[in-house]
């Protein structure tokens, strides 16, 4: 290995480790420590209580629903934005980032206003017999909104870099558009799609601000896990809050590991020297 002549390693690494330690690692370690201090029986009793289980159920199912919707919509959006040029496509491209830029509380009250029974969409859907606000469907819509950009923004660069020669070769061999999409394009997009899906799913699992306004927050039916933690805190039940928060934290770690694994897989196909 070459000898490194650049200065600043002690300072920059010192600052980095200090900051990461103080801001990221210390609080999370404190949380894990607090949850661990419960002892296995109490811990298990809290995290497997029927109310907690119901909250995992509604959170995970809504996140799954939102992620599946975003998978199709996000892919279509990325496709339209890279393949087609139409008036205003730049504005649409910029607007994709709105869910990242708009504070979640703002998104929450805006979506609620749209989907309540006398809102713009809620009144129309209400006539069709579909209730969105204060139901799991509302939770799903809030999750769709906040995690949509993840899939678009992970798929878009891969789609942009796709070599047209591959499609041309497939076309010259007589493949139909659908066959080419399914057998040539989709396999190339899959790693990026999976990475986007896991990011989007992780975000949906942890989302709070956008959801609490539109969800009915009824225990056992429309209470997400993040809200249950918040409620335990308001009841000064810190042990229970720590235990349930540790479940979300472990899930986040799992999703992070999964995402990193998928991204490094995706990288095998996208990195060019």
């Amino acid at each position: 290995m070459r000898r490194n002549v650049l200065p600043g390693l002690p300072l920059s690494l010192g600052v980095t480790l200090f900051y990461v330690g103080l801001i990221v690692v210390l609080p999370l370690a404190a949380l894990v420590f607090k949850a661990a201090s419960l002892g296995p029986e109490d811990y298990w009793r809290i995290v497997s209580s029927s109310r907690a289980l119901a909250s995992y159920r509604v959170t995970v199912l809504s996140a799954l629903g939102a992620t599946v919707f975003n998978l199709f919509f996000g892919l279509a959006l990325a496709w339209v934005l890279t393949r087609y040029r139409f008036p205003g496509w730049r504005i649409v491209d910029a607007m994709v980032d709105l869910p990242f830029a708009l504070p979640t509380a703002v998104a929450g009250i805006a979506l609620t206003a749209l989907f309540t029974t006398n809102g713009w969409f809620g009144s129309i859907l209400g006539d069709l017999g579909i209730k969105v606000a204060y139901t799991p469907l509302g939770i799903m819509i809030a999750m769709c909104f906040t995690s949509l950009p993840f899939i678009v923004r992970t798929v878009q660069p891969v789609l942009e870099d796709l070599d047209p020669a591959l499609e041309e070769a497939a076309q010259s061999l007589g493949g139909s558009d659908w066959a080419i999409f399914r057998k040539v394009i989709l396999p190339l997009l899959t790693p990026a799609l999976l990475a986007g899906v896991s990011l989007s799913f992780a975000r949906a699992l942890g989302e709070f601000g956008a959801i609490i306004f539109i969800a009915g927050n009824q225990p056992m039916s429309t209470e997400i896990t993040a809200l249950l933690i918040f409620i335990r805190l308001e009841e000064y039940d810190y042990q229970a809050a720590a235990a349930i928060a540790s479940v979300l934290l472990l899930t986040a770690f799992f999703m992070l590991a999964l995402t990193n694994w998928m991204q490094s897989r995706a990288l095998r196909y996208t990195v060019r020297s």
Partner: protein
């Protein structure tokens, strides 16, 4: 942006006019419903009770205090985070050391942790039932349910924002320029300010803009650690929730319109910076082990 290719003999997959129009149509309609409509309704609802009510909300002392607090949190958290992001990017891209890959993952953690979990975690450090809580209480230092807690929680959720823009870019740029500058006798700081900084300034600004938007809009983490004391520890997003649950919908939307405006400006700044080349080197590089590239 490359110029659109006009002369392509066999149309590419999905280029049949009918399919193309149908797909564009579906995507635009869904996008309008899911993304555009929420933005529009904020404006509509904010002015639903007229200009006077809007003005009264915005100029109300509680709202003004919330705005000030939000700005203060951003003024403290964003520069500190920026300094950290630059330091982390310098250490990670200019040097090889053991555990670098692990450090990258740790920096990314806040990105996948629920803001509520972050808030709870801070409670167990600085709260009365936390590690430092009793000691801090003894000396009368208030971190939780006060401004420092809000700033710390904001710093947690935005910790990766600047670093994650800089690291892929500085990795792609390599070390040659800095090594040349140092070998010609420039000091470390001089090398950074005259060689590295000009190359990363747009990406740095890009990260700062995104970080700022998130600090100003953070809700979950801040709502756990702030204590929601009206006129004292209420940031703008918390103030919105308070008004909303007080059945002051017009007031909530009026306050929300300020944050929505900031979001729109953030997006405009983002597009402008992307034209300068920021945000180009894409995220996946952050997860990669830079050592693999050179081999």
């Amino acid at each position: 942006m490359s110029t659109p290719v006009t002369r392509r003999k066999p149309p590419r997959v999905g280029d049949q006019p009918l399919f193309r129009r149908a797909l564009i149509g579906i995507v635009l309609v869904l996008g309008a419903f899911l993304i555009l409509a929420p933005l529009i309704i904020i404006g509509v609802e904010a002015f639903a009770k007229g200009w006077q009510v809007y003005r009264d909300t915005i100029t109300h002392p509680d709202t003004r205090h919330a705005i000030m607090l939000t700005v203060l949190a951003a003024l403290v958290a964003v520069p500190i985070n920026t300094a950290f992001g630059v330091a982390a990017a310098w250490a990670i891209t200019k040097f090889d050391f053991r555990g670098k890959r692990f450090l990258l993952v740790v920096i990314e953690i806040p990105f996948s942790v629920s803001p509520i979990v972050a808030g709870v975690a801070y409670l167990f450090v600085y709260g009365l039932q936390g590690i430092f809580g009793p000691v801090l209480d003894e000396y009368g230092i208030k971190i939780l349910f006060a401004i420092p807690g809000i700033i710390l929680a904001s710093m947690f959720v935005t910790a990766p924002f600047v670093a994650r823009e800089l690291i892929p870019l500085m990795q792609a740029q390599g070390r040659d320029l800095e090594e040349a500058a140092t070998s010609l006798g420039a000091s470390g700081w001089r090398t950074f300010f005259s060689v590295t900084l000009p190359n990363i300034k747009w990406a740095l600004l890009y990260g700062v803009v995104l970080c700022n938007a998130r600090v100003m809009g953070e809700f979950g983490a801040v709502s756990v650690v702030s204590g929601n004391i009206r006129g004292q520890t209420n940031t703008l997003p918390l103030h919105i929730e308070l008004l909303y649950h007080d059945y002051q919908a017009a007031g909530a939307f009026a306050s929300a319109s300020i944050l929505a405006l900031i979001a729109v400006f953030t997006i405009i700044a983002k597009v402008a910076l992307e034209r300068q080349g920021a945000g180009r080197v894409r995220r996946p590089a952050l997860a990669a082990n830079p050592a693999e590239k050179t081999s």
